[in-house]
Amino acid sequence: MSPVTTRSSRSIDWPLLLLYLVLVGLGWVAVYAASYSPDAPPHPLTALSFSELMAFNWFKQLLWMGTAAVLIVILLVVDYKAYDTLAYVLYGGMIGLLLVTLVIARPIAGSRSWLEFGPVRLQPAEFAKFTTALAASRFMAGINLRNQNWRDQAVLAGLTLLPVALILASNETGQALVFAALLLAYFREGMSPIILLLLAAGGVILLLALLVPKVWLVSGFTVVLLGAFALNSRLWRHHLPLSLSAWVLVIGMVFGVDFFFNKVLQPHQRQRIEMLIDPGKDPLGKGWNVTQSKIALGSGGWFGKGFLNGTQTKFDFVPEQSTDFIFCTVGEEWGWAGCAVLIMLYLTLLWRILLVAERQKSVFGRTYGYCVASILFVHFTVNLGMTMGLMPVVGIPLPFFSYGGSSLWSFTILVFALVALDAHRKQDLLR
């Protein structure tokens, strides 16, 4: 063994590796439970042939996990400097791949985002997160976001939005949405918090506009504004133009929502939002996913029904139960206690990644670490949110848990590129 690998293996962040292993392991157990059928033989590994086993998601996931292990070794052995130096090359290559996919891909469930190699299907969009994170981190290392250099900001925005546009074109709204995560990393590196606040406020107003009659919303906001003026006359004198423009903006958004909802959104997207607002409207049809997912989760109780005893997931009431709705199995079989442990594990992972990111000596390493944490966080939030009926049904996987090679590989690459960078952080200092 070369001295480099010896040194780097000693400086691998073991807590992060351990968390990864625990989550992937638990994820496999959940996939096994979700794809478990009471009719299958008790010892399928000895009773069934390879091709018969390939019919089971848990078996295929086992193979994916094996390949992920190989991937980890490769990621750690590769010269860590390559992540930095090759960032733009990888990014450019991925843009090319996305373009090619868009042209040659066969539509699967309405989206042209899958490349097929015989029995194996890969979704380039999953990996675009990684390359975009690398490229953004590389770019960030050369600029200072706080300096209000419009040219740099525009380049960064373009860098981020180009893959988003290509993924949107392939009709993968969920995957495109994940790129919003990068904003958190940019925020850490100096982007104005106003942008985050505006986005959050916009989301809240959008939701309110759908739930509350427009007249109430407009008059409510006006009353709040007038109240603030009445209480504090200084506001009146100093911030009148700002307040007025905010007022106009909100009114505009409130009425814009109607237009956006009815004219811009496609029918299936509109349905998802309608179902979020009132899943009881059509529980056997369009509201089926949300309703059944909540039933499966809600029937778990304190400690769940026990491993393989979940009736809702075992009997196929929850659609996509080993992929996007894998959390239902966790909720039904392991109960609130299991869910709480799982949430705790994810938070610990995120905290650990932040800690690792903060101790990087280079802006590149730190930004990349924040990108990883934010991407995992957005996946976690959107996936759990949709399972609990808090967010529209957007099909994105739960990291390490959802069945599927593309997602397991892409999260593994994301995390272990950071582990590799971290292992060499001291050398980075020397450089």
Binding site: R188, I295, T311, W336
Partner: protein
């Protein structure tokens, strides 16, 4: 201090907040809100009701009338329908394209994931032709179910029919344990004896997946119960007599009811026009039902139970009995045939006793009989006197099972009308009426209504010399059982049993006496003595209706019968020969070939030409 390190905590806070939000939302969903647990059970725990084998129906000679047969429904699960070749499908199912489209739309509106019926009531041969090809049409499958099968073409009105339970019935507490789509007796005996025919449902709790595919028992079947088959009904109906009666009245409107007076058993129950019971079962039954409903002759109308009519002369027998009981006349009492009181049917000998009066059906005689019964000087005020007299008369008449539901084992019986003094108070005003107002009652006309069953029952009461057993269809529940308890007790009238015998010689004279009005019903050639009474029911809208009521043999009655034929004029013309043939059929088991001309007369004769 690193560059902008404070922002690290902002990001950390966002992560942690979302984690806490999810944990608390899950706490609400999983721990606090119980509704999801019941919803989960509703999803997977299917309460499979095992509908027991419905009881069979036999006639009095144990020949099978109604049995069960499997029929099949074609079900569709919209979500599983893939690349449907509509043209090919419609050709296979022999259904129009529009029906398929409509069916699929309805199914989708109900649910995309649960099966809904597309075509109902496929027969076994129809099933065989489609079953092999069904594999090419994912999302469609066949579901078996039991339906009624009929071994008889007769007795539809009494049998009633079985159909899917209606939303209205489902709301009533009596049918609380029924599920939508289940079979239930809709009318007739099927409805009255529903709990007995139905048996007891078994319940199995099964685990099912989203497509309703069975995944095993719930907790080893600890909550399951076994089903219990329904009990058979053995009717008192004589199928041969029933078929013969329906044949006799095939082209007419009317009815025939025959009872065994000793037991109250209904021997035949003909309502004409009739229809075949199998018309209301199986594929297309809905359309056939609508056709029957629209038919101007109203074949669905159960005439013997639901048509009430003024009984005419047959009612004179009841008035005579009431008057004798009150002691105002004796069998030897004579009254002149005084045409000033009321018009008499024809000229005849002086009615010097009740025998002649009955034989001649003398209207003025019975006018005076009833006047003697009502106007008894109980009050100096003639209005009050009539009120008191009519009140006592009404109470006594009602003990013959008139003016009230008899309580036959059938749901839709009418009660008829025996007017009370209060009825006339309302109609005419208090003390504004007297006997002259109500005199038509003496000859069974006016404000009076009885049903066919009640008329047959009056004859059974006279045949029994003073009591009746409530008429009923079911003589035995199960093979060697008994009728319901209410059909085992005797009901005595307010008239002393010793008085009934005085009517019988006169009623025999009606049939077998020289110039008797009911001579067409005579069975004297077989040595059987028939006691009867003709009647004519006035009809303001056309030709009068013809009635005849009788029992035989007069000394040891085995059958009491009432016949009513619409627009057939005088009772002796049409109804009497029909009753004669029916009694011959029942008592002798057959009708002699030389009596064919009477059959032809009843079936095809032109009754509008009066001949008496």
């Amino acid at each position: 201090m690193q560059y902008l390190e404070g922002r690290r905590y902002v990001v950390l806070a966002i992560f942690t907040l979302v984690g806490l939000l999810f944990a608390s939302r899950l706490f609400y969903l999983q721990v606090l809100d119980d509704s999801y647990k019941t919803a989960a059970d509703r999803n997977t725990l299917q309460r499979q009701v095992q509908v027991p084998f419905r009881g069979l129906i036999y006639d009095r000679h144990d020949s099978l009338l109604v049995s069960n047969t499997p029929v099949y429904d074609l079900m569709v699960v919209p979500r599983e329908v893939k690349r449907l070749d509509s043209a090919k499908f419609c050709q296979l199912m022999q259904m129009p394209l529009e029906d398929l489209r409509l069916g699929l739309r309805t199914a989708k509106a109900y649910s995309r994931v649960r099966p809904s019926p597309l075509i109902q009531n496929l027969s076994t041969p129809e099933l065989a032709s489609i079953n092999d090809n069904l594999i090419n049409f994912p999302g469609f499958r066949v579901q078996a179910r039991m339906a009624r099968a009929y071994r008889t073409q007769n007795l539809a009105h009494a049998l009633g029919y079985v159909g899917s339970i209606t939303p209205k019935l489902l709301e009533s507490p009596k049918y609380a344990h029924y599920a939508p789509g289940e079979n239930v007796g809709i009318s007739g005996l099927e409805s009255y004896y529903e709990p007995i025919l139905m048996g007891r449902r078994g319940v199995q709790y099964r685990l099912v997946n989203v497509r309703g595919i069975d995944k095993g028992t719930f907790r080893g079947g600890e909550f399951d119960t076994l089903s219990q088959a329904g009990q058979d009904l053995h009717l008192s109906i004589d199928s041969d007599l029933q078929a013969y009666g329906e044949k006799l009245l095939a082209g007419r409107r009317g009815w025939i009811v025959a009872l065994d007076p000793k037991t109250g058993e209904i021997l035949c129950f003909v309502s004409a026009p009739h229809y075949e019971p199998q018309l209301l079962t199986g594929k297309g039954s809905g359309n056939r039902y609508m056709d029957l409903l629209r038919n101007p002759d109203r074949p669905l109308f159960d005439r013997p139970l639901m048509a009430t009519f003024p009984p005419g002369s047959v009612f004179k027998l009841v008035n005579e009995l009431v008057a004798m009981q009150l002691g105002v006349v004796t069998p030897a009492t004579g009254f002149p045939c005084d045409q000033h009181l009321v018009h008499c049917t024809h000229r005849h000998e002086y009615p010097s006793n009740v025998n002649i009066a009955i034989k001649q059906s003398c209207n003025p005689y019975f006018y005076q009989v009833m006047r003697a019964a009502v106007v008894r000087g109980q009050s100096p005020n003639k209005f009050e006197d009539a009120r008191l007299g009519l009140g006592q008369w009404q109470k006594m008449v009602k003990t013959f099972g008139l003016g009230e539901k008899l309580g036959v084992d059938m749901g839709h019986e009418k009660r008829g009308l025996i007017p009370s003094p209060e009825f006339y108070d309302k109609l005419r005003g208090y003390h504004h009426w007297n006997f002259k107002t109500v005199y038509s009652l003496s000859i069974g006309q006016g404000e009076i209504g009885i049903t066919g069953l009640q008329m047959a029952n009056v004859l059974a009461t006279i045949a029994n010399r003073g009591y009746y057993i409530t008429p009923h269809f079911v003589r035995s529940i199960g093979a060697s059982g008994q009728p319901l308890p209410q059909y085992r007790e005797r009901h005595y009238t307010a008239v002393d049993t010793t008085l009934f015998k005085y009517l019988i010689p006169g009623m025999q004279e009606v049939v077998d006496g020289r110039g008797g009005t009911g001579s067409f019903a005579s069975l004297a050639q077989y040595g059987i003595s028939v006691a009867g009474k003709t009647g004519t029911v006035q009809n303001a809208h056309g030709e009068d209706h013809s009635t005849f009521a009788a029992f035989a043999p007069a000394n040891d009655p085995k059958i009491a019968i009432a016949v009513f034929i619409e627009n057939a004029g005088f009772g002796g013309t049409a109804a009497a020969p029909a009753a004669g043939l029916m009694m011959e059929k029942y008592l002798r088991g057959k009708v002699a070939p030389r009596r064919k001309r009477w059959e032809d007369w009843v079936m095809y004769g032109d009754f509008t030409k009066r001949r008496h």
